[in-house]
Structures are given as structure tokens and as C-alpha cells.
């Protein structure tokens, strides 16, 4: 399922939906990077609240966007990570980058 993008001041939000694997990560990556280059946001927020499955491709997606945002002088936040994905996030060592933010009001995924 394709991500939804929204903008607020210097912040770009990506609402991710469904399953993130090697196959779906490619589309998400391409769409997101194109918009980052166009809009050059200061902050990129990856919202995982509607993600039902993620393998290590999701970690690659986060790490890659972290690098791009750093390169452009911005920063990345990973928000609203469901419980089921926490084990993967911890295993990856992403916790030490201090980019995972939790708790925010619920938001429905529009298809």
C-alpha cells in the first residue's frame, strides 16, 4: 500500500501503511526520496502506526532516510511504532540513534 504524505511548516510526514518488506520498501523509498529532494524539509516523520508487518527491509528504509536527512542538515523521527514491531526495532540497534519517538494521538490510514 502506498504511503500518504503531508506537510506542515518544515516538517514532512510519511504515513506508512500495511506491510513493509523488500518488495514494498522500494516504492516507499522512491516516493519519499523524491519528495525530500523537492521540499527539503527540516524534519521527516515516519509514522508506523498503520504498519502491520515489517522485516529488516523496514530497518534499511529507516537507516537510509536517516542518512539522507542528515546529509541535508535535517533530522528524522520514527513515530508511533506498534508493539509488534518493537522487537525488530530493538534488535536493529536503532534505539541508540535516539530517533524513535512514542505516543501521539491515533490517526487513521486513508486508503
Amino acid at each position: 500500500m502506498n504511503p500518504k504524505f503531508s506537510f506542515d511548516d518544515n516538517s514532512m510526514k510519511v504515513q506508512l501503511c500495511g506491510e513493509i518488506d523488500h518488495h514494498t520498501a522500494k516504492t516507499i523509498r522512491e516516493m519519499t526520496d523524491q519528495l525530500i529532494q523537492q521540499k527539503r524539509p527540516k524534519e521527516l516523520r515516519l509514522d508506523f502506526s498503520q504498519v502491520s508487518f515489517m522485516d529488516s527491509s523496514g530497518i534499511g528504509l529507516i537507516m537510509g532516510r536517516y542518512r539522507i536527512m542528515s546529509l541535508y542538515g535535517g533530522y528524522l523521527k520514527v513515530v508511533r511504532v506498534p508493539e509488534g514491531l518493537e522487537k525488530m526495532m530493538i534488535l536493529s540497534g536503532l534505539g541508540s540513534l535516539n530517533i524513535i519517538e512514542r505516543r501521539e494521538e491515533p490517526h487513521d490510514c486513508q486508503q
Binding site: 523488500h22 529488516s56 530497518i59 534499511g60 537507516m63 525488530m88
Partner: protein, 147 residues
């Protein structure tokens, strides 16, 4: 330990089949009445193994990936993922966390680490130019005692 049920699956190494493979395996294993967490861990481990076949074993070609799942009388699932791709020269290096030969595609090198962390045992057999077989074993908790 005896095998109580078994299934075989074979499909092309297209990335769109990654979701199919993990869903099919988890649907078969569902009959052991796993917890949602256990099923999710199996789905994730299978997804990593199948992605390795797509990304590494067959690279820019399309080959056949075979999956065999055995359910055993002691409530375990044994999942074998087999390809006839390029094989792995150095298995212990390939299994090191963060080692990857595909960093350009944002592969993290976490595939085997995830398989190891999400299952009870991972076994890899490989021959260069012949192919690779990854065997995952996971024993599921018995939530209800069957009379």
C-alpha cells in the same frame, strides 16, 4: 518426534512473492495454534530467508524457491527454504550481523540475525553455484492442553 503434517511450496523468485511466501507458511502453521507473537516471528524469519533468495541467490535472474514445512508431534515447525542460486562462499561471514553484499539497495545485513533471534534454531547449508538451504526451527508454546 514424528511428523504430523507437511507441505511443499514452490514459486518464482519475484519480490512480489515475498508476502505470498510468509503468508502461506504462517497459514499452514496456524493449525498448531501459535500466539500472534509467535506467528509474527515466523512470518518475519521466513520473509528474511525468502528475501535472501530473491536478492542474493538469484540476483538479477528469476529462479525457483522451494519451501518445505513439517509440523511435528512435539509442537514444532521445521521450515526449509531452498534455492538453486549462486550459493554462499563463506557461511559464517554471511551470518555475521551487519555483513551484506548489497548495501547499495539498503540491505542492512540483519537477515540472519533476525532469523536467529525470531526462531529457536537456524541451520544453513550451501554450495557455491549450486544453491542454499536454510532450515528454521521453532517450537510453539502449548496454550491449551489437548486431551
Amino acid at each position: 518426534m514424528t511428523v504430523s503434517n507437511e507441505m511443499n511450496l514452490s514459486f518464482e523468485s519475484r519480490s512480489c512473492n515475498e508476502a505470498f511466501a510468509r503468508s502461506a507458511v504462517s497459514a499452514f502453521i496456524a493449525q498448531l495454534d501459535p500466539t500472534i507473537g509467535e506467528l509474527n516471528e515466523i512470518r518475519t524469519a521466513v520473509s528474511e530467508a525468502v528475501t535472501n533468495c530473491v536478492v542474493h541467490a538469484y540476483r538479477s535472474t528469476i529462479g525457483i524457491i522451494r519451501i518445505n514445512v513439517k509440523l511435528t508431534s512435539d509442537n514444532a515447525a521445521i521450515i526449509r527454504i531452498h534455492d538453486n542460486g549462486v550459493g554462499i562462499e563463506n557461511i559464517s561471514q554471511a551470518m555475521e550481523p551487519l555483513f551484506t553484499t548489497a548495501s547499495a539497495e539498503e540491505r542492512t545485513g540483519l537477515g540472519f540475525a533476525v532469523m536467529q533471534s525470531f526462531t529457536d534454531a537456524v541451520h544453513v547449508r550451501s554450495k557455491p553455484q549450486k544453491g542454499t538451504t536454510v532450515t528454521l526451527k521453532k517450537t510453539l508454546s502449548r496454550r491449551f492442553s489437548h486431551a
